[in-house]
């Protein structure tokens, strides 16, 4: 067991964990932040995407110990404290960008990282950026629309029905 401390969604946390504890397991089991999901164990599906020091990473692909002293942001920190959804979250709801919801936390965290580095991405840029996130429900149509809308673009002319 090794002691690890980091800041998660602005809150300092500290725990003794086995050295091989993955960040995803640390978040889910130690901190009970179960919004971060594990879908594939091999860094393919992206359901576990969180931010470490402002950069999107797959939390099934990094030890908790590697995050010593880091700022970690998860889906649970996205909405305002009063529950108001962030612009990206709201766009996902408005444009039906989720169905079963399992990939959604990773999608939202990836979308957030994309918009941070590219505030008004094109459709192609969004699709390319999402290559690390699998959604099996939506066929991606409404996810791409939601991210375009969250960046302030008019998506009303994109075929919806």
């Amino acid at each position: 067991m090794t002691e690890v401390s980091m800041t998660v969604n602005g809150r300092p946390v500290r725990a003794d964990v086995p050295d091989n504890t993955l960040l995803a397991d640390f978040l889910r089991e130690n901190l009970e932040l179960t919004g971060t999901h594990v879908g594939c164990d091999t860094a393919q599906c992206g359901a576990c995407v969180v931010h470490v020091n402002g950069r999107a990473v797959k939390s099934c692909n990094i030890f908790a110990l590697e995050c010593e002293g880091a700022e970690v942001a998860t889906i649970e920190g996205e909405a305002a404290p009063d529950g108001t959804l962030s612009a990206i979250q709201q766009a996902f709801q408005d444009h039906h960008g989720l169905q079963c919801g399992f990939c959604t936390p990773g999608m939202v965290m990836s979308a957030k990282a994309l918009l941070a580095e590219n505030p008004e991405p094109t459709e192609a840029e969004i699709r390319a950026y999402l290559k690390g996130n699998i959604c099996r429900c939506t066929g991606y149509h409404n996810i791409v629309r939601a991210i375009m809308a969250a960046s302030g673009q008019d998506v009303s002319n994109i075929a919806a029905e």
């Binding site: 086995p18 164990d41 992206g46 999107a56 110990l65 590697e66 390319a128």
Partner: protein, 293 residues
């Protein structure tokens, strides 16, 4: 499992010599190759990412030094001349943005997959691999560093310190192409990189490599020689020679992603596309043979 995260190279060398740990930088290949609780397998892991000396891309008169802990995202975002475009293009193709944020250039070389995206671009850049250990330091040409599928020239007590691109390879322009069953996040069926220097439309220097079609990515040295002195606009005329060399030096495999005949054909097509793109990049540059570091 125990996990070590030294702050300096000397401590890392000691751990390497004493405990023979598996090295961990971005970890993206280490995790992907193991499964289940207690991942990754291996009793000892040495995380090198806290060692400051291993970070960053430094230009010098001798060329560019890419520290062993430098991520692909850092490569993609770096200010580098057109001769290194192939490397930047490969950087954006590796895994996904989340992987690029973690995976390192050096790790890609050490993993030594026949389909490693980083190898073909670094081969056309004549890259050298700098290694270190308690006992000695070495500079190994990349073509000798990767010795086979999943094997390298690295000794158990050694680690990669940096990857060097010599200033002489900073000339001209380069390009990278790959094809997989889908666009991203899949092991490539074939990949190619090419770098080219031109003067008044004539090719003065060409470097070409092909990956995923042989146990180790290969340079096409005979075709490179043949291109010297050729007009950049006439490359496609030499396709039979390209295909001949591919047939001689590649050993593409049949697997569930593609059969060997397809791999051999598509490798040629990708080489030609790289050459066309490199040629257009090279001819649009001033006649100064590119920029120095």
């Amino acid at each position: 499992m125990s996990y070590h995260r030294p702050q300096d190279l000397a401590s890392a060398y000691h751990l390497l010599a004493e405990r023979a740990p598996r090295l961990l930088a971005g970890g993206t290949d280490v995790y992907a190759s193991s499964e289940g609780p207690g991942r990754p397998d291996g009793a000892e892991l040495l995380d090198i990412t806290a060692i400051r000396a291993l970070h960053g891309i430094c230009p010098s008169p001798q060329g560019w030094r890419i520290g062993a802990a430098t991520t692909w995202a850092e490569v993609a975002g770096a200010d580098l001349p057109p001769a290194l475009d192939a490397l930047k293009q490969a950087a954006r193709e590796i895994g996904s943005p989340q992987i690029q944020n973690r995976a390192t250039v050096a790790g890609n070389l050490c993993n030594a997959s026949p389909a490693a995206d980083g190898v073909p671009p670094l081969l056309v850049l004549d890259a050298m691999v700098e290694t270190g250990s308690l006992r000695r330091a070495r500079m190994i040409p990349l073509r000798k560093f990767v010795t086979g599928p999943r094997t390298t020239a690295l000794r158990t007590d050694e680690m990669v310190i940096a990857v060097h691109v010599p200033a002489s390879a900073g000339k001209g322009a380069s390009a990278f192409e790959k094809i997989g069953a889908r666009r991203h996040m899949v092991i490539s069926i074939a990949m190619a990189a090419a770098r080219m220097v031109t003067r008044q439309g004539q090719i003065t220097e060409a470097a070409i490599s092909v990956g995923a079609c042989s146990p180790v990515a290969r340079r096409l040295t005979a075709f490179e020689k043949m291109l010297k002195g050729t007009a950049a606009t006439r490359i496609a005329d030499l396709r039979p020679h390209l295909e001949q060399e591919l047939a001689e030096c590649l050993s593409p495999i049949d697997d569930l992603r593609a059969d060997a005949a397809y791999r051999a054909h598509v490798a040629g097509a990708l080489v030609l596309r790289c050459l066309a793109r490199a040629a257009s990049g090279a001819t649009s540059q001033p006649e100064s043979e590119g920029e120095g570091p």
